[in-house]
């Protein structure tokens, strides 16, 4: 399968959920997805289009658009196409369905996105902070308006 047929199949199956799709090259395709149906789209990608490898899942904060993007980068072992899929969430209450039932390795990605951006994942098996201590939960340090940085505290500058 090449990039055009994959994108045609995806938009044909989910005409309501997939929008702003773009074929950047023969190996990179980009699409945006409605956050309500992320799990169905991912299940279709894995079962029908042989996108078996979730390379990465992370967040990006856009305060001017008042949105937090959750970005899924999904690759395949059967064809060279890599899909970048973005789900746009409101910044006040970012809630999205977890894709752990489809891609099991999303577990730690989603825990990290949760502790750094505050994206709540529904039906996640173990949603707790991954790296940060428990008492830093709620600060969301990778959001653009985070102001908890220590300001000029280091005194032994060498």
């Amino acid at each position: 399968m090449d990039a055009n047929s994959i994108m045609a199949s995806l938009t044909g199956k989910f005409p309501e959920d997939i929008y702003d799709s773009n074929i950047e090259s023969g190996i990179r395709i980009v699409a945006k997805v409605k956050p309500q149906n992320v799990v169905e789209v991912c299940r279709y990608l894995k079962d029908e289009l042989s996108f078996g490898h979730l390379c990465c899942e992370f967040g990006a904060d856009y305060p001017d658009r008042n949105e937090i993007e959750v970005i899924y980068i999904i690759g395949s072992y059967d064809h060279p196409v890599i899909l970048t899929m973005k789900a746009l969430l409101p910044r006040e209450n970012p809630v999205v369905e977890s894709v752990v039932p489809v891609y099991w390795n999303a577990n730690w990605y989603e825990r990290e996105t949760y502790e750094l951006f505050g994206v709540k994942y529904l039906n996640h098996p173990n949603l707790k902070p991954l790296v940060l201590p428990q008492e830093m939960l709620g600060e969301w340090p990778l959001r653009k308006d985070y102001e908890g940085f220590p300001n000029k505290t280091a005194k032994n500058l060498v």
């Binding site: 940060l132 830093m136 908890g148 940085f149 220590p150 280091a154 005194k155 032994n156 060498v158």
Partner: protein, 186 residues
């Protein structure tokens, strides 16, 4: 729960027996003896022994930890100075803060420090441990480790070479010899 209660019972029995009856033995809960020894020449002998057996704990916390590990290996051969890497904090005299200290790791580091028997010393190894280094103004690291631990020697560098760490040990030996170190204030 039963094991804990049994241990407590044994402990109280031991306390009841006591060692006050042993002839020639004095029990004290003050540091009168050590304070007295510090005024005499015996302390010089003790410090000579301490400065020549600075066993450090292998606690590689960041990328400087690689230099820390290779310092203890055969090429630099710090055994000839009595500087021996130990794997347990209970065997060690020197704790080397060899990297950034994150907010999550600091409680564990304090616990390791409490497990080490006195006298004990701290060496800050690398820019991250001294001032934060590249993680200066980071949301998840602690700066100014010298406010938490009594640091005797700072070894700057990013990372410092193994020779720099050996020189740091030599400086620590000089401080112990001159009785100006912070580690023996126990």
């Amino acid at each position: 729960m039963d094991e804990i209660e049994q241990k407590n019972v044994e402990h109280t029995e031991l306390k009841d027996v006591g060692y006050d009856d042993v002839p020639g033995m004095v029990l004290t809960d003050t540091n009168f003896i050590s304070d007295f020894i510090k005024k005499t020449k015996v302390q010089d002998v003790l410090n000579w022994g301490r400065k020549n057996s600075l066993w450090f704990m292998v606690n590689a916390m960041g990328c400087c930890g690689v230099e820390l590990l290779s310092t203890g290996m055969a090429h630099y051969d710090t055994d000839r100075f009595g500087i021996i890497p130990r794997n347990s904090p209970r065997h060690a005299d020197v704790m080397i803060v060899s990297g950034y200290v994150t907010k999550k790791y600091l409680p564990a580091l304090k616990r390791i420090w409490d497990q080490m028997p006195a006298p004990k010393w701290v060496i800050c190894f690398g820019d991250c441990a001294i001032s934060g280094g590249p993680f200066y103004e980071s949301y998840s690291t602690h700066q100014n480790i010298d406010e938490i631990f009594p640091v005797d020697v700072f070894v700057p560098g990013c990372p410092p070479r193994c020779e720099a760490l050996i020189q740091g040990f030599v400086e620590l030996q000089k401080k112990i010899d001159a009785k100006k170190d912070k580690g023996t204030d126990y």
